[in-house]
């Protein structure tokens, strides 16, 4: 299939996500790019991670890419398959280090909407998936990383519905609401990586994808992005080795890393 072509944006994203995963950690993933990234991390810099899935599978032996979080490939000869309540309980009890979540909208405090577009849940412009495990992981897991595309509609000043609390209204408000863990530590989009300023908990540019100026990031954001002191560093580029492993060993059929036509 594709061999020498340059990395596409999804492949670059998968690589950036994989870099968030430290070796010897427990990683909670949903379907899609985070799953690709976790498997890539395991095959590159983080061979000793334990991958946990919402359907209850954990630490499956390697196989093809799962086609869904409930796919047998997520619990392939797992030593244990957790019931759902217990699986999320592991996050509460401090046995999960990092989780990756998608979003339809994310605001300046990292609050996530996956419920609907519009003002009224009972009569939306479009109903989306709802929480699934998104709220559970964001409420309970030590560190969260949010992953998605970046447009002004997807990065509004206020989300239409808070499915999952990030830093709520900034400052200490997440903790005051009763939630545990650090909340979102990073937002990853094709334009770059964002973190949250420690005091206000507002979204801040951390690094930008090579070739993407700050103005592009700002123009596709519905609120003012904070900037770090000095020059904004560039995000790392996918290495030829990682790209090769991604294409031959992680997602050879391009299930999750083929750009939609």
């Amino acid at each position: 299939m594709k061999s020498d072509t340059p990395a596409n944006p999804l492949e670059m994203l998968a690589y950036i996500i994989s870099l968030q995963i430290e070796n010897d950690s427990v990683v909670y993933v949903g379907t899609g790019l985070p799953m690709v990234a976790a498997i890539l991390a395991r095959k590159t810099h983080a061979p000793n991670i334990t991958i946990v899935y919402e359907s209850g599978g954990q630490d499956p032996i390697p196989g093809d890419m799962p086609w869904s979080v409930g796919c047998p490939l997520t619990w392939r000869k797992s030593a244990v398959l957790m019931e759902m309540a217990y699986s999320f309980g592991q996050s509460f009890n401090g046995y999960v280090d990092i989780a990756f979540l998608g979003f339809a909208q994310v605001d300046m405090y990292g609050n996530v909407n996956t419920h609907h577009i519009g003002k009224d849940l009972t009569n939306p412009k479009a109903r989306l998936t709802g929480s699934g495990g998104n709220n559970d992981l964001s409420s309970l897991t030590e560190k969260m990383v949010l992953v998605g595309l970046q447009t002004p509609e997807r990065f509004p000043e206020k989300v239409d519905f808070i499915t999952s609390v990030g830093h709520l209204e900034g400052g200490n408000s997440r903790k005051e609401a009763g939630l545990i863990g650090q909340g979102p530590v990073a937002v990853i989009s094709p334009w770059g990586i964002y973190d949250f300023e420690p005091e206000t908990k507002r979204m801040r540019v951390k690094t930008l994808t090579p070739g993407i100026p700050f103005e592009i990031a700002q123009q596709t954001t519905g609120f003012e992005l904070l900037k770090p002191e000095g020059e904004i560093p560039e995000s790392p580029m996918i290495t030829p080795e990682a790209l090769h492993i991604l294409r031959t060993d992680v997602d050879p059929n391009g299930v999750f890393t083929t750009m939609p036509s």
């Binding site: 949903g30 379907t31 899609g32 919402e54 359907s55 209850g56 599978g57 032996i61 196989g63 093809d64 086609w67 869904s68 979080v69 409930g70 796919c71 047998p72 490939l73 619990w75 392939r76 000869k77 398959l81 019931e83 759902m84 309540a85 999320f88 509460f92 419920h115 849940l121 009972t122 009569n123 939306p124 479009a126 109903r127 989306l128 998936t129 709802g130 929480s131 699934g132 495990g133 998104n134 709220n135 559970d136 409420s139 309970l140 519905f161 808070i162 499915t163 999952s164 609390v165 709520l168 408000s173 997440r174 005051e176 609401a177 009763g178 939630l179 545990i180 059929n253 299930v255 999750f256």
Partner: protein
């Protein structure tokens, strides 16, 4: 006056005026009374799917989904509810892949939501359309973990559990059952969500094997089913195979869980009961069928009805459905696929041609 104290803000946001519609799901006393009336002796509970649905599913019941997304979901029992013209069910979609098809036929009229959609294959545009047209009313919003804890509370024999999920989110403003309280143990401010024990009226659990009394063995993701079995006022067990009781006895080395027979009201021998979903050990899910449903049928009401008329209302049972998927060839390939995914078969190539409108595959792998 209702004996339940519901979250007033949620009632207002969801436009629920008559709260009696919410009561059954949290009515511990009626669940316990129903459980006390179940047969205690080991009696042969085998009946047909038609009989089980006719007898144990009543219009307006709270039906909780079981299994997980594409896995072990009792789709064929839901299809039979549609064929029999059941009406006005409240469906707990947690987890839920695409059971919104029940709304179009009036079988489901209310939903308790934690997930609606098909993961990477996208959102459920049919549900979105039904909601906007007022064909379905939302009674509560949840997270997956929130529902799991409500059911687990029932299984544990607790009136409810305190949790750290859903706090501060808008889900709390759209769930009449859950409220934020101060943790009574703590002196410092410590908000917790109180989640009541949940008792659905009826649940269908599709198991790999069961005996004629209702002991049911599940392997693969159990998700909420061990809790659902205890909580449900009425429990229908459907199974791929009915086996002698002795083969479900402890210590035979099988990995999985067994739901005890005392919970079961009916046992249905139902090979292919989870089709078109995945049944671990038996068949992989029909990816192309779901793609056809989501990409071809879901966006337009007329196509959706045409599609479900063809596959459900105009088929007699699951065998006709399997014939339409591709018959014996589909069965052999689907079995090979799930076994390979489970590492019980030599690895195979999972690549396939995705369904497109211009390329209807004929066999729906």
């Amino acid at each position: 006056m209702s004996k339940f104290s519901y979250n007033q803000e949620a009632l207002k946001n969801l436009n629920i005026e008559d709260t009696s519609i919410l009561d059954s799901l949290v009515d511990f006393e009626s669940a316990r009374a129903a459980h006390l009336k179940k047969p205690r002796s080991k009696v042969d509970k085998r009946i047909s799917l038609k009989e089980a649905v006719a007898e144990y599913v009543s219009d307006g019941d709270v039906l909780s989904d079981a299994g997980f997304a594409y896995v072990r979901t009792p789709h064929q029992a839901y299809f039979e509810m549609m064929r029999q013209g059941k009406k006005g069910l409240q469906v707990i979609g947690a987890p839920n892949t695409n059971q919104s098809y029940m709304i179009n036929y009036g079988t489901a009229s209310y939903s308790h939501n934690s997930y609606i959609g098909a993961e990477m294959r996208g959102t459920d545009r049919n549900y979105s359309r039904q909601l906007k047209e007022g064909k379905v009313k939302i009674l509560s919003e949840w997270s997956h973990g929130g529902v799991a804890l409500g059911l687990k509370a029932a299984q544990l024999g607790a009136p409810g559990l305190m949790s750290k999920q859903m706090l501060g989110s808008d889900i709390m403003k759209h769930n009449p059952y859950v409220s934020t309280i101060q943790n009574p143990l703590r002196n410092d401010p410590d908000p917790v969500a109180f989640i009541p024990a949940l008792y659905p009226d009826v649940v269908v659990i599709h198991a790999q094997v069961a005996d004629k009394f209702g002991n049911a063995f599940i392997y693969g993701p159990v998700v909420n089913d061990s809790a659902l079995a205890v909580a449900a006022k009425k429990l229908i067990i459907t199974a791929e195979e009915i086996v002698p009781e002795s083969s479900l006895r402890y210590g035979n080395g099988k990995k999985g869980i067994v739901i005890p027979f005392i919970y079961a009201d009916a046992v249905v021998e139902l090979p292919f009961g989870a089709v078109p979903g995945n049944m671990p050990g038996y068949y992989y899910w029909s990816r192309q069928w779901w793609e056809k449903t989501l990409r071809y049928a879901s966006p337009v009401e007329e196509k959706f009805i045409e599609h479900f008329n063809e596959w459900v209302m105009d088929t007699k049972d699951q065998f006709e459905f399997v014939e339409k998927l591709g018959g014996a060839k589909w069965v052999a390939e689907a079995r090979r696929q799930t076994k390979a995914a489970e590492n019980d078969n030599e690895d195979i190539d999972f690549a396939y041609q995705e369904f497109t409108v211009d390329n209807d595959p004929g066999i729906y792998y």
